[in-house]
Symmetry: C2
Subunit: 543 residues, 2 copies
């Protein structure tokens, strides 16, 4: 094959930062600090300090590809670590500080982290794991020296500002192979041990291009971006990279995700874009509505991490004039797979007519492809009705997990990765998650969405929490039952609850029984652990 | 180095088409045909026919990387060839049909084209070159069989529709090395032979991502794009690729670039975006203003290929409410380098205050970088005043020319390509072309922009055309003189013309003399050939 004669340059994360420094050097990076107060930085300052990070990592004699862990909120120092660590050829490992200390220690050791950089908020957590993580040679606290006690120092902690101050700002980014590992992120692991996804420079840069497109998050140098999604959750959905790639102003909320704090940042900094999970956004909306405030310069909201209630989509649009964009992805996808932006053909629909479409998870951005298939591996039609296992492939989709024994591929022969979700896709390519593959109930050859069953139950005034699970059945394979926790002070009437399903779903989909319990087991990220629930109900018999 | 564990898939042009077919299959591709009438296609139809193109190319037993030439206007068949030829692993070679037949023959032979596909408009041209291009084994006319005469057939011409009809629509795109050559484009070659730029799949896909960004052309699935720039000019600035990548509707004007025809398409098809050179856009604006029409759904215009007069930028904005985006690039850059979109800091400027900024060529999109340097290779400051040689580098910038003897690199040791332009860059990264490197006048260590001198002369009512060139000077190295063609019926008064420079430019920049001529030599694309003008004036003596 004849090769093209264009410049062959690797796609590198350091190039994103160089670009931001050269072309958007005075664009602000604003952070609410753990120590209190608002910190004002810029891409130029960020780039200089990222080079100091790289020098500091070199000074610690880390080998190429060694991991640097972070336990940190969204803030400028975390951004510096994102670029400085990856740019230097090492791997940034963001750790979810909300996990149990045992899990944090397990993850640090599994990743073989050499340095851990952490916010002051996590001093106690670090105290609990330090002795169990012998591979870590340096513990860096993301603060100035004045914040460390003599005891802290004596125990070997160093402040980030001291660590950087010892380093020059001059550094020449290495020209890496673009396939080099850049960042590491562990899944929440509701079943079994967490799995480690290892991103590359190439996958990160391509993902950053794609998520900045008009039909994705639409980032420009006129935007001010506030990622409410934590930087320890799949790189804050890639927003820090895409912000620098487009020269957008970045506003980072630190540990304060309550409505008042977030609203203050939006108003003070002219935020145009926020992204987050529904629960955090709900807190913000509640604050705005309680105070009869306006959202000011904000014009759009990307919602992901969990299905967004249609009522919230409607509220954001009707009450606040915001474009509410539903999105879907996963750690294994860097994370963005789909966003729910309209096509030209939907221009003439009213907001009400668009709502059912906007409640879907959306359509693929170029760079990822998707399909649905049945249990036998046969592709299912894109008719908006057929439910199947959602499969994805693309430039920023996982091929295998890190440290999972021989790096064995987790994709099929055609390169498709099973998301573990069950979904429909309509003729226009709009995908809607209907269930998790392990939760969907298979009854008489048809699939029943446990989520759909739960949503109906949750609308009932007496129900605080509801889980739908499949129980083995001699004739139908499985039949759904509903496990509910009553609201405090309320009691759940089995017949009345089942009657409430009439007319809402097909008759054969209505659960066979209701089991009332005191609580349903939840995982670290608040998801119901149905596997545990099934264990608890192992002696249960269908009526 | 540890590699990331993400899917390693090549960046391929065929993936763009697959994506458009799967996710935007019913999105329209509308064309005005050479044969008359409007043709309605879709990405699904386009993809099926592109696969037929690939099968047809295979049936001709073309080797991988063999070239398929086109002499064609903007139309659906040309789009099918773009994707079908490149997707199959061959190289699409778009030829400028406005060149002299001798040049076309030279280019076809230099490229070693195996098949030529051409619009009916170019039957005569092909008749003139066929015998001189023995390497071409097939001549395909982009029409149905009914358009070919018996004589045409007897001479070996085949119609495109017959050629395709013989082929199945099933075809499995080869998984190519992403560095494989995909398309070939010759520069206009105002000096010496045309130079050949060979694009790769990788450079094309990355360019498509970048030009679709909000700060570039901002393409979405709600857009209807009308490229007035021909598909034989640097792949219509990459618009066909980026349209498919985003699922935007595509409207192709065929050979009719007059105001009435273009306006008819804009109105009938709900066009939201046009891109073209200033002269073609001027024709469109004149039509709209003469008929007191509105631009309807159109909301933005990208202008490139030549500097856009500030008056046109103002007119589009003030009279028509359109966003007029100045842009800059070159064949060697795929072509996009900069676009002039505002930053957040410019939000508060009035339209009048923004105008001087919008008249600049704009700022870089991520993926290309630029700098200016003096004759000694020293970098110059980004102060908006210092003029220097404009250097670029990036993923879609040329590294060497095709067939130019040993593929010797045309970049310096740090990978920078000399654009041949002279420019300033301001502190915000906005670049403005002030001259061509070979045209700038170097007087007493300072650079005088020939373009700036010419613009002042062109504003004079008696001047039809003006060229400023440097004449050797014993003390100042060079001094500028002005060569002018008077308007019909007018005569140019030397002293009055020179007096008109007072207060407009620095005194030492005012030309030393005015030479009145009947005509100034022009090249094939309408550019002044100053090299020829200098030859004509070789006996000229400064006063």
């Amino acid at each position: 094959m004849l090769h093209g004669l264009m410049q062959d340059r690797p796609l590198l994360i350091s190039d994103i930062l160089d670009f931001a420094e050269r072309h958007h050097g005075d664009t602000a990076v604003i952070s609410r600090r753990v120590e209190g107060g608002i910190h004002r930085s810029s891409y130029a300052a960020c780039a200089a300090r990222a080079r100091q990070v790289a020098n500091a990592v070199e000074a610690e004699r880390l080998a190429m590809s060694d991991r640097v862990g972070t336990l940190a909120w969204n803030g400028y120092r975390h951004v510096e670590l994102y670029f400085g660590v990856a740019g230097s050829g090492r791997v940034l490992h963001t750790i979810n500080p909300r996990l149990h200390p045992d899990q944090v220690a397990w993850i640090v050791n599994h990743a073989d982290d050499r340095i851990i950089c952490f916010d002051l908020s996590f001093l106690d957590l670090i105290g609990q794991i330090r002795d169990r993580c012998p591979g870590v040679k340096k513990w860096v606290v993301l603060c100035g020296p004045e914040r460390l006690s003599d005891e802290d120092r004596a125990s070997g902690l160093v402040s980030y500002e001291e660590w950087l101050a010892a380093q020059p700002i001059e550094y020449r980014w290495p020209v890496l192979d673009e396939h080099s590992a850049s960042a590491l992120c562990y899944t929440s692991g509701t079943t079994g041990d967490p799995k480690a996804v290892l991103y590359s420079h190439r996958s990160t840069v391509l993902h950053a291009y794609a998520i900045a497109l008009p039909d994705a998050m639409a980032f420009s140098a006129r935007d001010t971006l506030l990622p409410l999604v934590p930087m320890f959750h799949v790189n804050a959905w890639g927003i820090p990279y895409a912000a620098a790639l487009t020269g957008a102003k970045l506003v980072l909320p630190g540990p304060q995700l309550n409505g008042a704090s977030v609203y203050e940042l939006i108003a003070a900094e002219g935020v145009t874009f926020v992204a987050g999970v529904p629960t955090v956004l709900q807190t913000l909306i509640a604050h705005v509505e309680a105070g009869r405030l306006g959202f000011g310069s904000l014009n759009r909201v990307v919602i992901g991490g969990a299905a967004c209630p249609p009522a919230m989509l409607r509220e954001l649009r009707e009450n606040h004039g915001l474009e509410a964009i539903h999105s879907w992805g996963m750690t294994e996808m860097s994370p963005l797979g789909t966003l729910c932006t309209m096509k030209a053909k939907h221009n003439d629909l009213s907001a009400d007519q668009q709502l059912p479409l906007r409640a879907k998870q959306g359509r693929a951005i170029f760079g990822v492809d998707m399909k649905i298939m049945d249990d036998t591996g046969t592709d299912l039609p894109w008719d908006g009705v057929s439910q199947g296992h959602l499969m994805v492939r693309g430039h920023w989709v996982v091929s295998s997990y890190f440290g999972a024994g021989g790096d064995k591929p987790v994709v099929d022969a055609d390169g498709w990765f099973a998301t573990g979700d069950v979904a429909t896709i309509d003729a226009d390519g709009f995908m809607q998650i209907t269930d998790r593959s392990k939760d969907v109930i298979k009854s008489g050859g048809e699939w029943i969405s446990s989520i759909e069953i739960e949503n109906v139950a949750m609308a009932h005034p007496d129900v605080a929490m509801a889980a739908c699970i499949g129980i083995p059945h001699p004739k139908w394979d499985e039949r759904p039952i509903l496990v509910v926790v009553p609201r405090p002070g309320a009691s759940v009437d089995r017949a009345a609850l089942l009657a409430s399903y009439q007319g809402k779903i097909a008759k054969w989909q209505i659960p066979d029984d209701v089991v009332v319990v005191d609580s349903i087991p939840l995982g670290a990220t608040g998801k119901m652990l149905k596997i545990r629930l099934r264990e608890q109900l192992q002696d249960y018999q269908l009526p």
